[in-house]
Symmetry: D2
Subunit: 294 residues, 4 copies
């Protein structure tokens, strides 16, 4: 019911650009599209009521690691593969990703599994090249108020997963989404991945209330990344189930074949066997609440 007759947008009517310039949230506003936006990433439809799981390793490290992880999550019924080729890291001495080689490996993994790929883009002049390969761009939490990057990503012609910054409010996140929408792209998924609080038992505090608030205020679908939020694999299962129950349209989950050897955020990755169990439970919960897996 939501026509997408140009590549990704075609949605924004011209008059929208003529509205008076204020600081208000406008294009992501639920009122503009009460039925909600459906974002298509490969064959997956995010925002139509289904629960869609994207999984894979935080970073692409080797062909063997990526393919084994991709195969594992594909067998569990995910709708897409996540994997970072460019990794923004707090320290310049940490592993920064395989970069363009990593992107090529992701394309191979897509060939192999049939899964669309979501991968992060970190600077404006990379957008075109990353968009030529990826099925959806990810804007990371640290770059989500990098407005040059948002504007470039909004013009890329493919869907964008916008992660909420860990010090950024719900409304500021919608402000960042506004940059993407205003650049002509309505194929935007907002991703909650935890905020900074005083609590140190978890790496960040996953703000599941924000999922419900995003759904009330905006027509954009919402994804949840419990892996980065918790930083602890054993918390990913309960938080995934809670995210689905609170109304998330999609999940983004770190799965690694050998978490203890991961070059980036390995401590938080699930083993494929645990992930398979989680997918089974998620499907049961989905039935309970009258939703289907994507």
């Amino acid at each position: 019911d939501v026509p997408h007759d140009t590549a990704v947008s075609g949605w924004l009517p011209r008059p929208i650009r003529e509205v008076p310039l204020t600081g208000e949230i406008r294009l992501p506003d639920r009122a503009l599209r009460p039925e909600g936006t459906v974002v298509r990433i490969g064959p997956a439809t995010i925002g139509d009521g289904t629960i869609n799981v994207f999984a894979g390793p935080c970073a692409v490290e080797t062909r063997e690691q990526l393919f084994a992880s991709a195969d594992a999550v594909a067998q569990c019924g995910v709708v897409g593969l996540r994997g970072g080729a460019f990794k923004p890291r707090t320290s310049p001495y940490s592993f920064q990703g395989l970069r363009w080689d990593g992107l090529d490996l992701l394309a191979e993994a897509r060939e192999r599994t049939g899964l669309p790929i979501v991968t992060e883009v970190v600077q404006p002049d990379h957008v075109e090249r990353v968009a030529a390969t990826a099925d959806a761009l990810q804007i990371g939490a640290r770059n989500m108020q990098n407005f040059s990057l948002l504007t470039a990503a909004g013009q890329a012609g493919i869907p964008v997963v916008l992660k909420r910054g860990f010090g950024v409010t719900i409304d500021e996140t919608l402000g960042a989404a506004e940059y993407l929408l205003n650049a002509g792209n309505d194929q935007v998924v907002i991703c909650e991945r935890g905020i900074r609080t005083f609590e140190t038992a978890t790496r960040f505090t996953l703000d599941l209330s924000a999922v419900a608030v995003f759904k009330q205020r905006s027509h954009l679908p919402v994804m949840v990344d419990p892996s980065h939020a918790a930083g602890i694999p054993s918390l990913v299962e309960p938080l995934t189930l809670a995210a689905a129950a609170v109304g998330a349209d999609a999940l983004l989950i770190d799965v690694h074949i050998r978490p203890e050897q991961a070059l980036c955020d390995g401590k938080q990755a699930m083993l494929p066997t645990d992930f398979a169990q989680l997918m089974g439970k998620l499907e049961m919960l989905a039935m309970g609440i009258g939703r289907k897996m994507g």
Copy 2:
């Protein structure tokens, strides 16, 4: 001097008092009772895998208001009635509760509905008298590091619902629980009700990860209060479902027959009709995840 021969306690072996004095969390530790503690409030059993809903008005205001609210929630299948007779309020000019008269009304409401009552106690020398009427004591978020009150409540001989302070960590909450347990009472329910963060879209940020962490670290059952956390009635339903999915043993929900006239926190209370819908959805979700309603 603290006898352990009653139903509610009898748990703490004497040698526990002889352990060396350190600052560690000890008695709430999951390792001490891996199977978990079951807390009995009236006929309800909290901690045995069932999902138990306590509901009612934030404050007891009038006989008519309390009875109407109590009847409404009783019809929805709750296991207990909540209601505040003593209300700790940020301003001395706000309604402070009906006090002992409110407690008498709660006792009448129990007669009428058969529901056990949970109500807050605010000072040590009230504990005995409140405990003579109530089925469980509630320690409020603002008093949860009032160690004199904790010690008194721990000796009351009835179950205690301990709310996490909104600036208090998970481990400090277990430290407060330690005061209750150390006073001879193992019938303690920890209640997550939101923490203070920079996000202002919700009144507090409900920390559902904390529920999972509490369950991993401690044998005590965990309750969630989505009403006080969100401060917005429309968020109570998704947060209740998420709380159940993340593993909460119990819910504490504000229901008021006329929220707009409530003397305390009325804005956050649900209408009985909305609450009835919520209970239906919760039951469906419970089936999906293989749990039963308490």
Copy 3:
């Protein structure tokens, strides 16, 4: 126009109690007393523009420890001695203070040094007895929304130092002060001691902006406790100087003769020699900004 005809209170005109009951901050409002309130603790006058330092050990541990610490800070020119006889501790197994014996030792230390003493009170039924000995009561951060305690302390007839809770806003702190003022006591000092934030390099985040805001919004004098905020002795000096520069009327500083042996919060205490240096620098800064040491 504001008569002070009794020892500490006598300030609140009767009509104030007849104002309509709303949740607003009223009695601490700067508008009520634009010239500011002067709080007298022993011979010290807090709120008249002078900079007043209270120092001493976090907890009274032994006669020898208390007297040596008291002598040391007395020689440095402080206006008062701090020391805890009742210690609210996160764990029931931590040292809880010498209690009434500690209070007796504080009285002896006052005899010895001539310094007025400020000490914490932790439960309502202790107020009268603590107030019979102490020169000022301290309400700790964990009890500052324990409204029964506030009401009792407000009726004690001696000044009260009200510490801001670490999860409590500026306006809620003024709400807690309202309880004290409403009980008939205008001799209230608000104490900023750090709030909970995501930053972990310091124990809490000292909110020095709050000092300026308190001074703008309220006529009550403001104290700063850099020791508990920072949790690191080497930060106490720069934070003390900053507190004076931002407009604090008083400082509360942990000094211990042997910090490494302290039974409570020892890590944060300064050595007397470092404290002496700090006092010298503070005096220089005071001259620079046209203020005098109290």
Copy 4:
């Protein structure tokens, strides 16, 4: 490929690039240069014990506005002019700055006043052109973990003012500085401008403890921006004095000739007359603590 033979760098010994790759903070470490780094912005020397004030409007709006503001702050004895030509804004509909025209106006203002200019750069491919005009680059809080931008700015050959992100820890800020230093530039000033907390009385919570911690952990000089932190002009004076007292090497202050007409963050700007008074007080305080104005 990064030559170190110019005035601004020449610091980093070649072997530094051969140290083993770990995630530790290395180049900003105080131990590497215990005497501290002096950063030269025009004739100003930041980090040699002097107190250096940079002031001007948040955004360059018109020639008349910029020149009047620049003249006003020049007369007050500042060492540099701040002004934004590129403004990263939360909403795409807010004023985004005059961009290259604004940069040209800043160059004219430097001609006119003799003051060096500090201005923000927002994307990597702007760095070279902005650096050709500005005396120092500013990395804004929202871009401070935009590592592509940091790397580009570190290679620009002019000093960089690195603002701490409002959700970023002290150590992560030093991690961002590491990117700049590792790119061959030791002329880096860290700027504290407030963090996100639950307190809403101020726009952010200025973390003055962080200034002291930065000075202890790192050899880099530290600047404080009280204007953006507080968001309230009347708080800028006390916070500036406190920043100097806690050990800041520099201040960054919003001054606008007509704050009520400002196109960006006008509410927080000081009037030139108030700023003149502040400068007088700051000089007095500096004398008190044995420091000189830069």
